[in-house]
Amino acid sequence: MDVAEQTLPTEQAGRRRCASLLAGATAEELHAAWDALKDKPETKPVRGPETGLVMVRGRIGGGGSPFNLGEATVTRATVALASGTVGHAQALGTNKQKVKLAAIFDALWQEDATREHVENAVLTPVERRVEAENKAKAEETAATRVDFFTMVRGED
């Protein structure tokens, strides 16, 4: 974690975490959480969902000046709840349905009454799944780590 991240205000850090997990959620996870929602809120589209591009940048030598590596597809959506709360979502790829749902959950997360549902039905399960997947990948990679050993030849 870098310094900027540590000094983010708590609310902002929470929103960042929420946005990041919603971007990482699968369409199935979001649909399941939506179906499990008892009182489905009225929502109004404000923008999108729309698909466009983000220019992905790298850095020369890994940490030097930025350069344009190439683009990636990204889909974003903004929705408003009846209460006026506005939710934003953006994720790599072209799945508009998924991103629209993510924007609704972003709005619901900001409301005290529904934050818990978003945490329990979306964010926590996604976080756990991603952690487990990353752990599995790290362990599979670790199994391919080279253990060097020295051959002792002849008599000492």
């Binding site: 940048r57 790599l92 072209t94 362990e139 060097f148």
Partner: protein, 368 residues
Amino acid sequence: MYVAVKGGEAAISNAHRLLADRRRGDRSLPSVTIDQIAEQLGLAVDRVMAEASLYDRSLAALAVRQSRGDLIEAIFLLRAYRTTLPRFGNSVPLDTADMLVERRVSATYKDLPGGQLLGPTFDYTHRLLDPSLLSDEAVEEPARRDASDEEIMRVSDILAHEGLIEADGELPQDHQASDLTREPMEFPMARDLRLQALARGDEGFLLALGYSTQRGYGRNHPFVGEIRIGEVEVEMEVPELGFAVSLGQIRVTECQMVNQFKGSSKAPPQFTRGYGLVFGQSERKAMSMSLVDRALRAEELGEDITAPAQDEEFVISHSDNVQATGFVEHLKLPHYVDFQAELAMVRKMRADIEAARNGETEMKDAAE
């Protein structure tokens, strides 16, 4: 005289219908799905994304399917598609030090923090065709081992502690990263723009140029400081939120090439570097890119420009396979009128020569 020619609509339409048929192939075989291509021909998909300069696995897989596996055609399709989309913005520059590493090897240090992680590599295979793949035999689950928490440190950072290697590559403070998809290219260009061109450049072309430097055409004594492959976070500033959020992860391959030293009366000698960064898993491309990046720094490093790989205008103008395909393949389009003109010219030249020859013979005959 200019004669406009129309026609061929029916032929074109039937040709495309035939193409669709040949693409599908034998109907008694199941059709290959987009997910199957993305999962089982993943490295072809990676190459298409890298050279199309557009990261989207599903669309790249679709392009591979539509192009019958002709990867340059697939790259062309994806390039054409990207022109239909608006650009929302630039990402925060990727932090490759914070990668979820799937492979990392160094040829300069045996024991280094994080270790040598082979990952899913073709290296050390015997390149023998595997008959088990003729059928659909079950495949073992990968082995696992507890992963250490040790930071997988960049090799360039290890050398940097002693000041033995040049820094990552800083352009002047006021330099804005230029974008070849937005402004026409001009030579000479800054290193950031060269890297953009190389990242989307043809793998075969860059491989050949990189190889040429090893064979002595602009030799720069490379060592693979490090290759790493894995997933990195893509973040973008969202104006409505006022801070950057994650959009998801992409897989990239990074190569840090460490090259022979450079020093002057003012600065002590230190290693120089070439850099490669490519979408997807593509070690060959990332290595080639870093070799060519280093070769193209010849002028900056005060080296003589003697070889093709060091010639910026030559390399960058010919690295794009969509451009190259367009110009080479346009030759097959109708050139009937041009050719008629050339034909008339060559006939006339021959007639003139013939006439001159006949004249000479007549003169000779008359003299005898």
